[in-house]
């Protein structure tokens, strides 16, 4: 943990890690994977044309973007080198991978859209109070059975 903390602190001196006392509750997957509609949430800072890019300033950015499954994606994130993600978005936003798994019958279907956040969020309060509930509501509206969360 110390190494990870120091790595991030080099780029963002004001960052403080959140710490939970108990794990998040676990909701069981109520069907087999081959029947499940799978949603995707990535913290890679992905956004598409017409959407505002994520702020990479010290104060972070707790907003989110809904990203269509087949739309070219851009990335803004201060905590990793985004050049590889531009070359192959699948490394952090596996939309084609999940679509292929749906076509093969490994999963039942993909959600109609993916969601992206920018993972550098020094103050978790807006994330927990506003962004999290809003993203959850969107995923529930999309009738998602299982959410895959992918960091960058």
């Amino acid at each position: 943990m110390r190494r990870e903390q120091l790595h991030v602190r080099t780029f963002f001196p004001s960052f403080e890690w959140a710490s939970e006392q108990a794990p998040s509750p676990r909701n069981p997957l109520r069907m087999g994977l081959a029947q499940a509609r799978v949603g995707l949430v990535s913290t890679a800072g992905g956004y598409v044309r017409g959407q505002p890019r994520f702020s990479v300033a010290d104060e972070g950015d707790a907003s989110f973007r809904a990203v269509a499954w087949d739309e070219p994606v851009r990335f803004a994130h201060g905590g990793y080198d985004t050049r590889r993600a531009y070359r192959d978005p699948e490394v952090v936003l596996p939309r084609r991978t999940l679509a292929a798994l749906a076509a093969e019958g490994v999963i039942g279907a993909t959600a109609p859209r993916a969601f992206s956040l920018m993972g550098y969020i020094p103050d978790p309060e807006p994330l927990l109070a506003e962004t999290g509930p809003r993203v959850a509501a969107e995923l529930l509206a999309d009738a998602v059975d299982l959410v895959l969360l992918v960091p960058a």
Binding site: S24, D88, V91, V150
Partner: protein, 93 residues
Amino acid sequence: MLDEHGLATVSITQVREVAAQLLPSLACLVETPFGLTLGAVGDHDAHARIVVRTLREAERPHPPGTIVDLGERWTLDDERERQLAVEDLPPDA
């Protein structure tokens, strides 16, 4: 964050200690560099393998807070080590 709203989730994590501190409901550990979470650019077999193995864990009855080590290790170069290298950081970090 999403589990409290009734959603079933499974997370990928790249650093065990981070997952142990944030305590997601179910995490799968892959030791890849930041920015290459699912593997190298163009390595779609690796991307699919990690995604499938992660999703499969969601079918299993793990207790909340479980971290499953998928055994996926980055071997192409030392980028991950360099990203996490304390000795490369400034002394006041």
